[in-house]
């Protein structure tokens, strides 16, 4: 029939299931009590990344570390493939907008086992963080702050006069920052 919507209510965008809970509060249907149970009792011993990579402008890895080590190759493949989406997201933002572009690219793509997040510095150095899909407690904001920390530490590395830009990163400080973000192999 002729019934149409003249105005639209702001919608939920179902980016991730965890995000939804936050959004529902706005709709007046609070799920607050449900949340309180979640975070406290993590089966995973920390809410951290399983792989962190820094990729040069030319798309070769400057730094890549993953946990656990047996799966290293798989992470390398995952990170490498994610560059496709990174490039797509960068080019999707017009050239004119490149200045105001947000560095955080968000979820690049989910796989059955992992979620891959991306971040691009203005000098086109890419950071990629891979998180276990079962690790549902990790929020977008936490990912963002991880990237920010990573970026800061990377800037410190670049500021080191003995570091030759383009070389693989072998900095203890950077290493420790990364280690702090990674799941300790349990």
């Amino acid at each position: 029939m002729l019934t149409r919507l003249k105005t639209q209510v702001p919608l939920f965008s179902m980016n991730s299931y965890t995000k939804l809970g936050e959004k529902l509060k706005l709709s007046g249907l609070s799920l607050a009590s449900t949340h309180s149970h979640v975070i406290r009792l993590g089966r995973h011993n920390s809410k951290m990344a399983v792989c962190i990579a820094v990729i040069a402008k030319e798309n070769y890895p400057l730094f890549i570390r993953s946990v656990p080590v047996q799966n290293e190759l798989k992470f390398h493949y995952t990170v490498h493939t994610s560059l496709d989406v990174v490039e797509e997201k960068i080019s999707a933002v017009g050239k004119a907008m490149a200045d105001q572009r947000e560095l955080y690219l968000g979820l690049l793509y989910p796989t059955e086992d992992y979620k891959v997040y991306g971040y691009v510095t203005n000098s086109k150095v890419k950071f990629v963080i891979v998180v276990d899909s079962s690790n549902t407690s990790l929020r977008d904001n936490e990912i963002r702050s991880m990237f920010r920390k990573l970026h800061n530490s990377f800037t410190d590395v670049m500021c080191n006069p003995f570091y030759n830009p383009g070389d693989t990163i072998q900095s203890k400080a950077f290493d420790s920052i990364v280690s702090a973000m990674m799941v300790q192999a349990s």
Binding site: L5, V9, R40, R43, P61, Y77, H80
Partner: protein
């Protein structure tokens, strides 16, 4: 609860059914025409909504029973229709009916009702005794709507097309809409409150998610019924989130009882079903609490999908679908639900295809193609799942499935259940696809390839090359499993290349391992060896693996070569790295025949020590133009090219990261190599321009993606022998673009070396240089000069000698102790040999000691250059070897004032048939001047000898008259003056050739060795021929001259000397009437502007050629100033009329020659000098002849200094000022 899509909220109509039926059509049409604003609770934004309703007949049994809050069938509004206009009738039946209706509603708790009174003109006309129509409405209002008068509405003539009718319609509809909305708000609000209350009880033990699900879904249905799809979707999303949260909490250890049913083992994995608006089967399962997690998720998603498609957001469906599938897999894992292996793969595969089918069903092809990026994820996921199913069910194995695999397949297919009726008839349903794929190896391959290629195509279309290659790689793995390495190769190659290009070493290693296997199967020996070499040097592999691959190479290398086989050339990059190259000598510049040592430092990348049998390098010869630039230029360029060279001949090669291995090197962006460039002008080497040049631009600017030829070795004909340098003259060699290492049959080749390494080989012609030991060579004293012979390519043999032609002006003084030093090309002293110098009349022969090529021979000889008599005359010297050359020319140096002589030496060298001419420059240390001081007839000669050199000399025997007893010392830059008086003997010639000679020796030389050398200075003296006397006489009557007044100037010219024999030539005399006269021209010139010459100022006089002959000339001059004024200058010239014929007779010539001869130093060579004088004469004659022809004018010739004596030189005359115009200026300060 039964509800189907497209249902509308019910409105129950009571009262006059026939009346309602007549109005129904227009009512259903009119109601949704205008939107109403719907204000909502909980801060939700108000929205405009078009209302529709399903008008149904009022039936008591349809009313919801008490407590049943089912919204779907809930009548939101009750309407009572009546067209009663008769009070009687109203009272009789209508009122009762209404009361009954009202009481039923009240019982039900429905407060949303409306009474419509329809009025029609037709009905009114029939009834005559009518009450005013309002009374019925008033009555109804009075009876039923005690406080809500708006619950009763009048609809006038609804079936007529009048404005009144329309007005009443619109007010009725507005009322209807308002009431409907009010009812919605109230009832939905109440429902939501109830629902929320129910949700808050979720922590209570008996709470069931499924029950709650049904309640909230009902709300969603209502929203959908109201066409509020957004709101409906929100309901499902909330349910989704709630469930997710529970699962997560469960995973976190906080289990809810009701979740137990969802944790039951999965028995059916039939995939999503999106073709029905509502999957009733699943809904019922949920309702009964028997749904599995997959059932619930599938149902939820199907509802969300339906709503999203209503909302025209198909791409959100695909995105959500992928998330859902990932999430379900995770949730099942989290809840530890037991699932048959492969069942989930089936479920995901079917679901992916189902979603894709659904999307394809609602979008056209163009839309689909434009949105590949949304669907490709599902395609890939489906591909992955099918692949893992294939592996699981043994469909990939070369031998085909085993019975165990078959059992598994059967179990998996059983879990799919029957095919849904919707797709039974379609040929390409997901169900059929999966069934078929799992049924046979061939079908599986077909479907798998189809999916893979589709996904790859899509990735490629949206530019996700890496993702595409990743699928390609898994395809390659599939082909390898199937034993089809040929098809695997291209996929592997493609992936490998991209990984190498982007520098992902782990992937490179992994892919390379697969590649090696593939190449091994394909028996591509060379490629396999190359890959093995790369893997053997790969730091990412374990020691054992590396050794294994190394063994592959060794095994091949040790095989006896087949006759047809040639050696295999592989890229060296994998095998070894060139680290350093060191030249000795460090400059890397050698002459032909010399040895150049090249030390290579190579890093072996193999896991074990390697015995290299041979090492060879190929050289690239480059002929360098401009051998003239010589070695110095060459080395300069070299240092510019090799900043790493650092002058010690070491060239370091940049290394890729050693961790990443060989594959890494290529990916690293090469560092900029910048060099300074200077462009100098070829003539004076001034800087034209300078700049910075990037040397490796070709590496930096190339395209990065398709650098193909990384591992392909250049398998050209490799020179197997070590390099012999053939003799190439004057060239430079740039070095090895190729170098080779061989192990058995295997050669490792490095196709080019960067930075370019080069060395230079030069060939040099023998060279002789003679240079003075001191800064300047001085003429007149013996001095040493150094002979340097750079032997170049010439081998000086025993008996080779230098032949120097002797010149008289520069004899070579040979001393007894003469030895030569031999130096090697690097400047080391090799030895010292005696040198013998033999001198004959014409040549001096210096026999050289034997010297090897490219050595330097040095010795010193003493030479002396005679000082020629000054002033020099231009003449020609004949060299002893017969060539006519210009005599050493002397030039005055402007700065030092030294005269220098270029002395040419002609040397015959043994290595050349031509004579070498070497010029030595000697400086004359002295400069002589003379001046004649006359006093009347007495004359004094002053000779000034100036030492212009830096050496001090002692001077002896300055001869002009008697001996001088003193020996003056002439210090550097000082002068010695000598003065003589002349006395005239009788009949002296008019002019006298004089020569000043002195001996000199350097002061510094010790007395014993002081050998005085002669110095001569020649000049000419003249007798006084005429005396000139001037007198200024004031005008007549005046005692003194006055300014502005004319004065007389009387000039008397007196001949002083007798005419002589030779005079005829000196003066142009003419015989007139037996009296010899000569013509003179006088001229009065006043340079200081003191005098104005009035009348004629010059004239020609004829002077008799006799002693004391006097000629007087009167002239008028006017003084311009007062005071003692010097006399004006009077000049006298010889006047030669044009008719005068130069009579140069042969006899006079010889006479002149004799004259000169007598004055010449006898020590000089006769031959040379006579030749010079003869030629001088000829030049003179030629010159005058020319003058004769070209210039028929009288000539003036000045007298030589001393020929004319001016009596009045320096005289002054007093001039008085004119009295009248006397102006006195007095300045008082």
């Amino acid at each position: 609860v039964s509800w189907r899509a497209g249902s509308l909220p019910p409105v129950m109509c009571a009262g006059d059914q026939s009346l309602f039926t007549s109005l129904y059509t227009s009512l259903a049409q009119q109601l949704p025409k205008e939107p109403m604003e719907w204000r909502r609770s909980y801060g939700r934004a108000p929205k405009m909504i078009h209302l529709e309703a399903n008008f149904v007949q009022f039936k008591e049994e349809l009313l919801p029973k008490d407590g049943n809050r089912a919204l779907l069938t809930f009548p939101f509004l009750h309407i009572y229709w009546t067209d009663c206009c008769d009070t009687e009738m109203y009272k009789a039946s209508v009122k009762d009916d209404m009361l009954r209706w009202q009481s039923t509603l009240r019982l039900d708790g429905s407060v949303d009702w409306l009474i419509v009174v329809v009025e029609s003109e037709a009905k009114k006309k029939n009834k005559t005794n009518i009450l005013p129509r309002t009374s019925i409405v008033d009555k109804i209002r009075n009876d039923f709507c005690n406080k809500q008068s708006d619950r009763c509405v009048v609809l006038s003539d609804p079936l007529k097309e009048s404005s009144r009718s329309q007005d009443s319609w619109s007010s009725f509809l507005t009322k209807l809409r308002t009431l409907l909305l009010m009812s919605f708000t109230k009832n939905l609000g109440r429902f939501e409150d109830d629902m929320r209350t129910l949700r808050e009880k979720r922590t209570e033990p008996g709470w069931s998610f499924c029950d709650y699900f049904m309640v909230q879904e009902e709300l969603a249905f209502v929203f959908e019924m109201l066409q509020q799809f957004e709101d409906a979707l929100v309901q499902y999303d909330e349910l989704d989130a709630l469930f997710t949260q529970y699962v997560l909490n469960f995973g976190a250890g906080d289990g809810a009882n009701w979740l137990g049913s969802f944790c039951a083992p999965v028995k059916r994995w039939s995939g999503l079903l999106l073709r029905r608006p509502i999957d009733m089967e699943k809904r019922e399962l949920i309702q009964r609490g028997e749904a599995s997690l997959l059932d619930l998720r599938s149902y939820l998603f199907s509802r969300q999908c339906t709503l999203l498609i209503f909302l025209q957001r198909p791409w959100e469906v695909t995105q959500r679908a992928l998330e859902l599938l990932h999430n379900c897999v995770q949730e099942l894992r989290l809840l530890e639900v037991s699932v048959v292996q492969g069942a989930l793969d089936c479920w995901v595969f079917l679901s992916c295809l189902e979603v894709l089918h659904r999307i394809e069903g609602c979008c056209d092809r163009a839309q689909l193609e434009a949105n590949c990026s949304h669907t490709v994820g599902l395609w890939t996921y489906a591909t992955e799942k099918l692949k893992s199913l294939g592996y699981l069910c043994g469909l990939v194995a070369e031998k085909g499935p085993t019975s165990e695999d078959l059992n598994r397949t059967v179990d998996l297919l059983a879990g799919l259940g029957e095919e849904r009726p919707e797709t039974v008839n379609s040929l390409q349903s997901p169900y059929k696809k999966l069934n078929e794929a799992l049924s046979s190896v061939e079908a599986f391959e077909k479907h798998y390839l189809e999916l893979s290629h589709a996904a790859m195509e899509m990735y490629r279309a949206i530019g996700r090359m890496r993702s595409s290659r990743l699928i390609g790689k898994s395809l390659a793995e599939f082909y390898m499993k199937k034993g089809d390495p040929e098809r695997a190769e291209c996929f592997l190659d493609d992936s490998l290349r991209s990984y190498v290009a982007e520098g992902w070493s782990l992937q490179v290693t992994h892919t390379r391992k697969q590649m090696a296997e593939c190449q091994k199967l394909l028996q591509q020996t060379e490629d396999y060896l190359q890959t093995s070499a790369l893997l053997a040097g790969d730091a990412n592999l374990t020691e054992e693996e590396r050794k294994h691959f190394y063994q592959v190479i060794l095994t091949f290398a040790s095989q006896p070569p087949a006759p047809s086989d040639q050696t295999v050339a592989l890229s060296m990059a994998a095998f070894a790295q060139l680290r350093q190259m060191q030249f000795s000598p460090p400059g890397a510049v050698v002459h032909v025949g010399a040895a150049l040592q090249l030390e290579l430092r190579v890093r072996c990348l193999m896991p074990v020590a390697v015995q290299v049998e041979q090492l060879a390098a190929t050289l690239h010869f480059s002929l360098e133009q401009g051998g003239a630039r010589g070695r110095a230029g060459g080395t300069q360029r070299r240092t510019g090219q090799e900043p790493q060279g650092q002058g010690d001949g070491v060239v370091l090669f940049p290394q890729g990261s050693s961790l990443a291995g060989a594959g890494m090197g290529a990916s690293l962006p090469p560092a900029l190599e910048l060099y300074e460039m200077q462009d100098r002008s070829p003539s004076d080497s001034s800087l034209n321009s300078t700049g910075v040049v990037c040397k490796n631009m070709h590496l930096l600017l190339r395209r990065h993606d398709s650098s193909a030829s990384l591992d392909t070795p250049t398998a050209g004909a490799l020179p197997r022998s070590s390099v012999t340098l053939s003799l190439l003259v004057g060239l430079s060699f740039s070095l090895p673009p190729l170098s080779t290492l061989s192990v058995g049959r295997v050669q490792f080749v490095q196709s080019h070396i960067y930075p370019v390494v080069q060395y230079e080989v030069y060939s040099q012609e023998p060279q002789l240089t003679i240079e003075p030991l001191s800064d300047n060579l001085l003429a007149g004293i013996p001095q040493k000069v150094k002979f340097t012979i750079a032997t170049g390519h010439y081998n000086v043999k025993k008996g080779d000698a230098l032949q120097l032609s002797n010149t008289d002006s520069m004899p070579i003084l040979h001393s007894s102790c003469c030895s030569a030093t031999i130096l090697s090309s690097t400047g080391e002293r090799v030895g010292e040999r005696a040198l013998s110098v033999q001198s004959s009349e014409k040549v001096t022969s210096i026999s050289l000691p034997p010297t090897p090529p490219y050595h330097t021979l040095e010795f010193q000889l003493e030479v002396l250059c005679h000082i020629p008599p000054t002033p020099f005359k231009p003449d020609i010297e004949r060299l002893t070897n017969g060539e006519v050359r210009h005599r050493p020319k002397s030039h005055s140096q402007a700065d030092s004032g030294m005269i220098h002589i270029d002395q040419k030496v002609s040397i015959d060298c043994p290595w050349s048939i031509y004579s070498t001419l070497i010029s030595l420059t000697f400086y004359v240390p002295f400069k002589a001047k003379h001046s004649i001081l006359s006093a009347g007839k007495r004359k004094y000669i002053q000779v000034c000898l100036q030492n212009v050199s830096d050496t001090n000399f002692q001077l002896a025997d300055p001869v002009l008259t008697e001996r001088q007893p003193t020996i003056p010392t002439v210090c550097s830059q000082q002068s010695v003056f000598c003065l003589w008086e002349m006395r005239w003997a009788k009949h002296l010639p008019l002019c006298l050739q004089c020569a000043f000679s002195a001996s000199f020796a350097p002061v510094s030389a010790s007395d014993a060795h002081t050998a005085f050398k002669p110095y001569r200075y020649e000049f000419q003296l003249d007798r006084t021929l005429y005396s000139l006397k001037a007198e200024i006489l004031p005008s007549s009557g005046d005692q003194h001259c006055r300014t502005g007044a004319l004065c007389g100037l009387e000039v008397s010219i007196t001949r002083q000397a007798e005419p002589s024999e030779t005079e005829g030539e000196e003066e142009e005399s003419t015989e007139i009437e037996g009296l010899r006269t000569t013509k003179l021209m006088y001229e009065v010139v006043d340079n200081s502007s003191n005098w104005a010459v009035c009348g004629k100022s010059s004239g020609v006089v004829s002077m008799p050629v006799a002693a004391s002959a006097t000629h007087r000339v009167q002239m008028e001059v006017m003084p311009l100033f007062a005071g003692h004024l010097p006399f004006p200058n009077i000049k006298v010239f010889k006047y030669l009329p044009h008719s005068a014929v130069p009579a140069i007779q042969p006899d006079t010539d010889s006479c002149l020659e004799n004259d000169t001869m007598s004055l010449l130093d006898k020590g000089l060579d006769d031959q040379g000098d006579t030749a010079s004088i003869r030629s001088r004469g000829s030049i003179h004659s030629v010159g005058s002849g020319e003058q004769q022809r070209g210039l028929p004018m009288p000539r003036l010739e000045p007298f030589s200094p001393g020929q004319v004596f001016y009596w009045s030189q320096g005289r002054q005359v007093l001039v008085l000022p004119v009295t009248d115009d006397h102006v006195m200026e007095v300045n008082v300060t």
